[in-house]
Amino acid sequence: MKMFVGSNLERRLAAGHFAVTAEVGPPRGPDPADVKKKASILRGVADAYNVTDNQTAVVRMSSVAASKILLQEGLEPVMQIVCRDRNRIAIQSDLLGAWALGMRNVLCLSGDHQSAGAGGKLKGHPGAKNVYDIDSIQLISVVKGLRDGAIQEGGDSISPAAPFFIGAAWTPLSPPEKFRIIRLAKKINAGANFIQTQAVYDIKRFAEAVRRAEDMGLTDRAAILPGIIVPRSAGMLKYMNANVPGIEVPEDLIRRMKDAADPKIEGIEVTLELIDAVKNLSGIKGVHLQAIEAEELLPDIIRSAGLLPRPRIY
């Protein structure tokens, strides 16, 4: 298989191994030590680490900066880029800079609307002007242009090309479901090489969606990594089921967490079962793990799932 850029993640997938990615949220502050701390917890447990880009429109250390710190700590980043805050000029500029600093994987997202940043205890910036100059699919195409054509969106060239391993998101279960497979196809046609999905809890429905992707030949063209968020309580699952579009949690899972003697331990059990289930789905090439503000749980989970140590790539 042709190698686009030869990042660790790309090579892991090319070797046919089950890939593991994990999420690292940058701090709400300028201290690199916060990023280094998470790096030391997660070193060696995943093939690449997603660095979020002002997720939920909350100002955090920029994803390019936090990605660079991870890189310096020996971890390979997947730099997330959202379309909410930067126009195509700034995005392309950031991509060139990111490449110069050593970034090789990017994940292209639309990004939560800025109103999401104002909620709970946070004031956020709901009054900010939003950008959304391009959408996530156009962004994928822009990155592909920089990589394969050494060309900017507007037509001018760059020199040399900036090759990235391009990722995109997939939310197979939010309405309109009939379109979600078309949207996946559009992203892969535009140039996406790997796909990380919205958190999966309903294996049956997820499997159906993956089968459809397989039928369309999409699982051969891009590596699909289902997202798994470690559940900590029934309340958390209920909340996500009700409020996060695309997250569907079966009733009996919520009940199971509710009835558990220790929901935190049960949540880890659930996570391991989900990892095992998706590992056995045809067309699935890895898993994307998220433990929101609880990254310290991940090393043990990944070990218990039989995914450590990460195999050597020859």
């Binding site: 969106e153 309405p175 078309i182 559009k186 535009a190 579009p245």
Partner: protein, 223 residues
């Protein structure tokens, strides 16, 4: 229509209190259709402002007028005499009207009494919703009559993001339908779902406000 709403009354009082006699001017077109600046609203706002000013011991006389359109010089001219008798104007027309008055009646101060915020339709009594974003590059022919530029919070052009809720509403604002959900449903009803799999490239925003303020000349209509 161009949509506007009253500014907070405190803000209006604050501006008016330093004047002796103010002309409150409405417009019978767009702002009348959105119940913000028509004759009815002038007749509502005037007593309200007088009462508010009196309570705060400001003596400001307010006289009123409503023009057919505040964006036509011939109608604006009708105010010429009244304007000589006041020391400020407050317009509850859209920003176009406010500026037209400011230009014609310089040096008198013209205050806006409303915030102009959208291009809307009145869906039903008492309910206005955004329809158009004046993007200058209309794609309604490809989106089955629903505009994603104006009606998607992220102006997405290639389909919905992951934020379409189970009830078909948008995660950004639960009162609003996910417009892409509506586009997909309509495309499907017409057997044209496939047309939405076509890649829509990055939009050219330059024919809108993003390209800078417009100044358009039609030679065939010049005198």
């Amino acid at each position: 229509m161009i949509f506007a709403e009253w500014k907070p009354l405190d803000e209006l009082i604050d501006k008016l209190k330093t004047h002796k006699k103010v002309l409150l001017v409405g417009c019978a077109t767009c702002v009348a259709e959105c119940a913000a600046g028509g004759e009815k609203e002038v007749e509502t706002l005037a007593p309200l402002l007088r009462m508010a000013l009196k309570k705060r011991d400001h003596s400001v006389e307010i006289v009123t007028a409503t023009l057919e359109k505040q964006c036509e010089w011939e109608f604006i001219e009708q105010l010429a005499h009244q304007v000589t008798e006041v020391d400020a104007i407050m317009s509850i027309a859209c920003g176009i009207g406010v500026q037209a008055l400011a230009e014609r009646f310089d040096p008198i101060t013209v205050y806006p009494g409303v915030n102009t915020s959208a291009l809307t339709i009145r869906e039903e009594a008492g309910l206005w919703a955004t329809r158009c974003a004046a993007c200058g590059d209309c794609i309604l022919g490809e989106t089955f009559g629903y505009c994603p530029v104006a009606r998607c919070a992220k102006s997405l052009l290639n389909g919905p993001c992951g934020g379409t809720r189970k009830d078909g509403k948008c995660e950004v604002n639960g009162d609003v339908d996910c417009i892409w959900n509506l586009i997909v449903e309509r495309a499907d009803e017409r057997g044209q779902l496939e047309s939405l799999s076509e890649f829509k490239k990055a939009k050219d925003w330059s024919n809108s406000r993003h390209g800078g303020p417009k100044r358009v000349i039609r030679e065939d209509l010049r005198q």
